[in-house]
Amino acid sequence: MRRRAYTLIELMIATALGLTICAAAYACVRLCAQVSSTTARLSDENRLLRAGYLAALDEVDFWTSVDDPGDATRQKLRSAGRPFHPLRFVAPAPGAPTAPGDLVLSPDQSHPEAAFRGLPIRNDAVANEYGRYELVAASGGTAPNQRQARLLNQVFDRLGFYALFSYAPANTIYSSVDETGATPSIWSRYVTGPYHVSTNEGVCAPRDFTCLSNGAIYQVTTHPSVVDADGNKARFDVWNSIGQAWPDPWTAAGFAGSEELIAPMPLRPSHWPALALAVRRVCATFRRANQVSLTVRSPVSGEAIKLNWIVAGTTLRGARRQRDAVAGWKVAGRPSLDE
């Protein structure tokens, strides 16, 4: 039987159809690959963003980047003068007497000893020209009222500025005198050492939190250049930093690098986007704030997603009470860093 071969037309049509099918299939596969790749990339990024977001919330709640109760090597702020130094407060019953030297942390701020009783207009060496207020309130000696001065000076000395704002009542007047009538330098004149207290207004008078934080930033940080220079007891003076270099840890560059860097998902695959999380805790301009900065950066394109937000979290005072006085997290029946 004679068999007829394909005609040229048939072959051309078949070839065209074949090519069309192949092209469609290729396009489909390519689209699938692209979409799959995009979806996977978005998914990875989202997973990282979520992980960073949750890690940030954990961090502002538990402060583990600053002080890890489960790892003694990550407790850089436990020595005296740093925010996680153990400090024993007492909370007497209303009306109950306190022993000399007790560090009273009482909710009863209507107690006569809780009020600031100093000279309101001067903090400096000539203050006694207006009266000897150390007769009524001082950090020592025979003055009848000593609680407020003790709280200010001891909390500052042992924990630093940020902690002081966490413990002192809302409208505390930050000043005190000793039994000689002298005001500690931290509450008096502007000094260009590690303790900046001036608010740039040139007035040497007792100040409240609003005044102390106007144009100034107080921060808890483990950054070595700050910690080693006792910087948790200093402040960053925003206005005076402009164009000037102060001999203290809170220079502009020092401040910029002083946020806590956290590494969520440390075991993620190396080809995944880079994840960076930084948390900065500050008292600044009349408030306390936790600033979170979360960055996901693609290793391929270099494109970065950066989220910054402010979020409420546990106060330093609360974080200290989360921790056992000796080691680990606080458990019932054992004292915390505050007890």
Binding site: A115, N128, E129, R132, P169, V238, A252, Q291
Partner: protein
Amino acid sequence: MRRRHAMTLFEIAISLAILSTAVLTVALSFPVGVRAQRLARFQVYASAKVLEIVDAYVDEQHLRKHRQVESEHLAQNTAMQWVPDIDRKMEDPNLGLLPLPRAIAERLDSDGDEIARLIADGGRIFFCTPLSYGGTTDQVAAGYFMTFGVQVGALAYQAVAQNQSLLIGVIGNAQQNALPNHPCVAWPYHDWYPAPAQERERLEWLEQGWPAYGEFLAVCTLVSGPTYEAVHRDPLVIDDYIRRARALVQAAGVATTGMAGFEVPVPPPALPTGTWADTDLDVFPPPWRILAMRCLAHAAMARTAAFPNPADEATPAQRAYAVDCHEAALAWAQRYASTSIYDWGAPRPLNRQTAFDFPLLQYDLFSPLVTSAPGGDVSHLIGCPLPPNRAPANAWRSHGDHGWNPMPDNRARIAAGWSDNRAFNLTAPFTASDRTRRIVCWAADWQAYEDAEELPAEATSSDNAFLDSQGVQVSAERTGYPPGAWFHFEDAARSSVFDVALHTVLHTAHYAQWNTAAYKAGYLGIHGADRNGNGRFDRGPLPRSARMRATTVVQYDVYDRRFLSGLHY
């Protein structure tokens, strides 16, 4: 043998059609996955932003500086509008949210018509500013100072474009809030205890007809203002100061004890159990007695000062007297401040660390409206938690400034501004649902509209500006602007943005510029705004006649308080 056919062209075409349909179906399903991931992305963004909104909301009052707090008339005080509501807080420029033009918001469809109903109820939708760091570092309130001084993360915030598709609104009815203070007098005034007499206290003493004005004037004349420093250099003058203050204390009716020349106010007795009688002056001491004791405590302590001549030093008896007067004055001041919240005759002790105590005040929404001038702004009367038809006692008039000028005497207006208190409900019991509102976040690519940058800026409350509704400057600094002012186009050409540098120049020479129509048009955003912050006027591809679907991203229920308060300190 059966003959075998090849497939016909028709069969192949059918096969191809089936294959194509299958491929297209699969292809159409791809965007679903992408959309799901995009939604997941927005959920992270929205959650972060909502946390920030709530954080700023609970910490509202730290941004209350530079605002007018007193006015001559009830209806004149724009700060009274800055109520602690979330959606009003979202207008704050420091939060980094800008109101979406209403015309665009009305084109958005949403689940359950939430957006349409929100707009119809007078609410508004917000989007994120392109200057995202404006909503973060400013929110830390190291503010623009930090940005300028340290360049923290400068210009590194790159989630802007996607963030801007995120829309935020608050649904549910706002409650009537407490007033931050009386619109005409920002009571409580505070002062140091002890402290010398102040001129504003002399005026109140005189104008309110309190007893012993002559004795108070004698003290005030000796040690007020310019004479203050001189008094503290001369022990003889201080002795005279003490005598005058002691005479004032006794004339004011304060019980004293001690030997002649060293009479000390008797400290307040323990508060009686049971109900306190209004007439019990040990419980509710009159303000002039508090002021008188404050003066005596200051005078007695001044005598303990260091003098160049050691012979002038205070004796042990004088020192003990200073301590006793100080203790008694502070104890009485604390008694007065604790029990007499609605006696506004003596300033509260600034050095009393109990957090500031504020009287509860609210507008009586059932009262008749009052106005400062025919056709002017209107206000309700003020209610407080006192019995019906009672107002705070010994209320001061304002002693502050209005703009650059002293406040006119507004005592009569304050007195006439009280309601009968029957509608006062700030202390009424409430349930959780009374206080709950919902923050809803949607995603919609509204920037695709052709007029996304052409539409004028939404009107925002003037209480955030440095000019009040009458065009009077009401802020000590010119730092209050509409939230999107940095992006407003300067003129109809839309080739440049509004020159905000004018705002920061602290010279009155710019008053004339501020009052030009061109300036006001830019200030208010009449010519639209560079809403994506790219520095040029963009037109999207989508006609304004098209509608757009807004996808719900997240919803959060939040507690909507009625009072200004702070969580953080």
